[in-house]
């Protein structure tokens, strides 16, 4: 379970929110520029809030005097652009996180992850040769293999065609139902939220005051 209550001033707006994400898929829903990605970055430890508290499964990630570095948070993050390592093959990309899971027991093994996401035929490929949907699936696998407490997904269906979207949606639902990993998912698409989310949290950037 993720308890989030953190805020940061970025330019003229204050981004942040106050919500709890439990099991299942929780959607952060709001217009572009509302700071949804910033919230994910704050959870992952890539963006430092000005104030607030972030707690995951009872562990204080951020709070007064506490700011765990990203590598110590146990948060899986699937970026909007997949961000696979271009100098590593697909299998090495997947193993990158697996090797750095810091003693957390695997959620499901390597082979099960590959099977779950249908990555068998991609293992020997290089990221530059993958389509958008394939890269997204590899990125999901890479994050899963770190055995995170929660999976963050930034616009997982953006810039994919309908068949690719269906594949990713199926993968997300299997992660929810078979791996039982809580998912915090960011979207600006009402339809996507309706199909995926068990809970919806509305996010809109607040104008900074004072």
């Amino acid at each position: 379970m993720l308890e989030f209550d953190a805020w940061k001033k970025l330019g003229d707006v204050i981004v942040g929110g106050r919500f709890t994400a439990g099991s299942g898929v929780t959607a952060l829903f709001g217009p572009s520029g509302a700071g949804k990605t910033s919230i994910l970055n704050m959870v992952a430890g890539l963006l430092k809030p000005d104030r607030g508290r972030i707690v995951a499964d009872g562990t204080l990630l951020f709070g007064p005097g506490v700011d765990l570095p990203p590598e110590a948070r146990g948060i899986g993050y699937v970026f909007q652009d997949a961000l696979l390592f271009p100098h590593l093959g697909v299998e090495a990309n997947l193993r990158y996180g697996e090797r750095r899971s810091r003693g957390r027991p695997p959620l499901i093994g390597f082979d099960a992850t590959v099977a779950l996401l249908g990555l068998e035929a991609l293992l020997t490929r290089w990221p530059a040769t993958l389509s958008g949907g394939e890269a997204k699936r590899v990125a999901i696998g890479r994050a899963l293999l770190t055995a995170p407490r929660i999976l963050l997904m930034d616009e997982p269906l953006a810039s994919l065609d309908a068949p690719r979207r269906a594949e990713i949606i199926a993968a997300i639902l299997r992660i929810r139902d078979e791996v039982r990993l809580p998912i915090l998912h960011v979207s600006h698409d009402r339809d996507e939220v309706d199909r995926l989310a068990d809970a919806v949290i509305a996010i809109d950037g607040r104008a900074a005051t004072g």
């Binding site: 899986g76 390592f85 271009p86 990158y96 899971s101 810091r102 530059a128 890479r142």
Partner: protein
């Protein structure tokens, strides 16, 4: 083309000076490139200008500055001698230092461009996957900078092998100690009947530079193949 023992020695010394200069320069160049590419601090523009100075100064002036700084009575040179017994002037190590200073701007430029080309979000991704700062640097940033580092090594080596002005000013032109290829060519040009030697040494220079370029191309190509 038959080389005399003296000419082989000149080639050997040039390679030694070039390789040592580049290895000496690489960590400094990488650190400077990193600072200039990633950090914002007061005096950054000044540091940038200082790094580039050897590129635009007459090399003789760079050699003279080295003499003042690193000579036996120089501010740093005196300390080097007192503490470590190191003398650079009139030694092949001095020639390597002079070549390293001349190679520095080129190496910093090449490495800096490659650091700036690294997508920093990849480092964030590495961190979120459990890599510490240093781990992310070694496993992601450094391999992605590899083409720039290779380019820097080749450029720096070629620059070092060709260094003349700063070397002759700082380390002097001593056969067998500091007389690298360009200095030997210059000396042969001054001596009557040195034409044949000038020709042979010039051909050697061309071959060495060509070999360095081909080697870098080969290494870069191998890196690309691994990616597609």
């Amino acid at each position: 083309m038959r080389l005399s023992a003296v000419e082989w020695a000149i080639l050997g010394l040039s390679l030694k000076v070039g390789i040592v200069a580049v290895l000496l320069c690489l960590p400094v160049a990488f650190a400077l490139a990193w600072l200039l590419a990633r950090r914002r601090f007061p005096g950054r523009m000044l540091l940038d200008a200082l790094v580039h100075l050897p590129l635009v100064l007459p090399p003789v002036v760079t050699g003279w500055l080295l003499l003042i700084l690193l000579g036996r009575n120089g501010a740093v040179g005196a300390l080097l001698y007192d503490w470590f017994g190191i003398t650079l002037v009139f030694r092949w190590t001095g020639a390597a230092v002079a070549a390293a200073v001349m190679a520095l701007p080129l190496m910093v430029r090449a490495i800096r461009l490659s650091i700036e080309a690294v997508d920093r979000r990849l480092e964030g991704a590495a961190r979120s996957l459990g890599a510490g700062r240093w781990d992310a640097f070694v496993s992601v940033t450094l391999p992605l900078c590899r083409p720039g580092v290779i380019a820097a090594l080749v450029l720096g080596f070629a620059r070092s092998i060709g260094e003349f002005g700063a070397t002759i000013t700082f380390a002097s032109n001593i056969p067998g100690e500091t007389q690298t290829l360009p200095l030997a060519i210059y000396a042969a040009l001054q001596s009557p009947g040195g034409d044949a030697m000038v020709t042979r040494l010039s051909i050697l220079s061309i071959l060495v530079s060509l070999a360095a370029l081909l080697a870098s191309e080969w290494i870069a190509r191998r890196g690309r193949h691994a990616r597609v």
